[in-house]
Symmetry: C2
Subunit: 283 residues, 2 copies
């Protein structure tokens, strides 16, 4: 099953036989004071730089999130999308909890976008799926609903099933749904990693859909977060995630190695080329 | 299912609800010229140092292999086992293709050893399983037989099944078999990682046995081997390996993080303690 995303000039295919596609997570003001301040002033220079850096580091898709206190997302999300389209040609992932902001961004986006996100709540399904259908966009489905985030992998699968069924009933093809099984902080809940990994395996097997995952939550509050994120990313890719939302500068080599180990890099050609380029750049 | 190993004074339990147990791989002259030379002179000082270093770095079990050109293993393996028992009290994994050498080592070993290894060949089953029964040892079963190493995960499962059945028929309990699904060099065979990971999942699910894996072969011939080994180790632990054969100095933190992510480290206490000790040691 292949998910196709498009910018004005480029097509990106997500699928089990494709290389892992990195969705760059860095255009997001959460915890980034300077980015939040520049957004409040409608200054797009930082966003443009983050876009260029992430594509150079290996992002195939860029998440664009402008949600912060005091920001009018309906005005700002399309501005940010425009700004990113000016400096890169990768497909974009439009990230907001505000359906009006998503609509405004979809109206300016040129291509086939990825919407981040819908979840199993009736209100969310009713607001976001019609947007995906109207604009022919793909959409990330989070495995949570009115009850919150289920504690078990089986219940998360059931939420994913509901999202896929509702989308298909509206005419959105299954290949345009990416499921995110939701990684919570393992420092607060000992089972957080295990349940997410089990859910990823179950959803992949039962629904056959492509899978994303916001990786970095897992390490919240713990020392040496990057190392935890890397090990979790490796495990998640091994379980079926093929379009993770990560910091490409940190995750790119792990992703290349994972593709090598999962049989997606014949004769290790992409991996060896990357290592050579790294060495050339550092010498 | 729990595998219990013992030294004279210590017991180590391998099981799905236990922390991952590292089998230290470093006492092995393959590719180590100085170690091979000192072994040829029956000098045990290097082996003793490697034993102490690996236990300090987090090994729960030590593999002892003295196989090298010009070495009489039947004489040298028991000497090496004696030497390691003098400086550490972890259980040992007696590693030889020579059944006479295994017998000689089992005769001097005090405790319940792990034999490395038997495989699905009739000759191997007939030589090694009786030793395991006679000495009450546990044994590593490699998923290969007269045909070599099968290309598919399903065939590797069948070899594992054969080994377990033959052991049980002789009165060796299933919990005393650890299966190694065999990682080959992914630079030479693009499917090597994927097939090994699939086999690990199949064997774990079908037979319920504990699982070991010699991790480092996977990266043979490729640049930045340690990084490949680390990602593969993370994936393999995620699939069910719980007693990997690795260099503990390189693998220990990855193993701790994997245990954290697999729900085996409540409130991240072991991980945080390790990070604090690391920081204290480096400051």
């Amino acid at each position: 099953m292949e998910t196709v995303l498009r910018s004005k000039s480029r097509e990106v295919v997500i699928g089990p036989d494709q290389p892992t596609r990195i969705i760059g997570e860095r255009i997001n003001p959460t915890g980034k004071k300077l980015l939040a301040e520049s957004l409040a002033k409608k200054d797009m220079s930082r966003i443009k730089r983050l876009a260029e850096e992430q594509v150079a580091a290996g992002a195939a898709i860029l998440d664009v999130n402008v949600g912060a206190a005091g920001v009018n997302e309906v005005e700002l999300l399309p501005m940010a999308v425009q700004a990113v389209m000016e400096v890169t040609d990768v497909p974009l992932c439009l990230d907001s909890a505000n359906a009006q902001a998503l609509r405004a961004a979809l109206e300016v986006y040129e291509g086939k976008a990825l919407i981040n996100s819908v979840n199993g709540e009736e209100a969310s399904l009713g607001r976001v799926l019609p947007l995906a259908r109207e604009f022919g966009a793909a959409v990330i489905g989070l495995t949570m609903d009115e009850r919150g985030i289920p504690k078990t992998a089986q219940e998360r699968l059931e939420v994913a099933q509901k999202i896929v069924e509702r989308a298909e009933a509206m005419g959105i093809p299954r290949e345009d749904i990416l499921i995110d099984c939701l990684a919570l902080a393992v420092g607060a809940d000992t089972t957080a990693g295990l349940v997410a990994l089990e859910a990823i395996r179950l959803v992949r097997q039962a629904l056959g859909v492509n899978m994303t995952l916001g990786v970095s939550n897992i390490s919240f509050g713990l020392p040496d977060r990057e190392e935890i994120n890397e090990v979790f990313l490796a495990m998640a890719l091994g379980c079926g995630v093929n379009a993770p939302i990560v910091n490409p500068a940190q995750a790119c080599k792990t992703v290349l190695i994972a593709d090598l180990l999962l049989g997606r890099d014949e004769y290790a050609m992409r991996y060896i080329r990357y290592c050579r380029a790294q060495k050339a750049a550092s010498s």
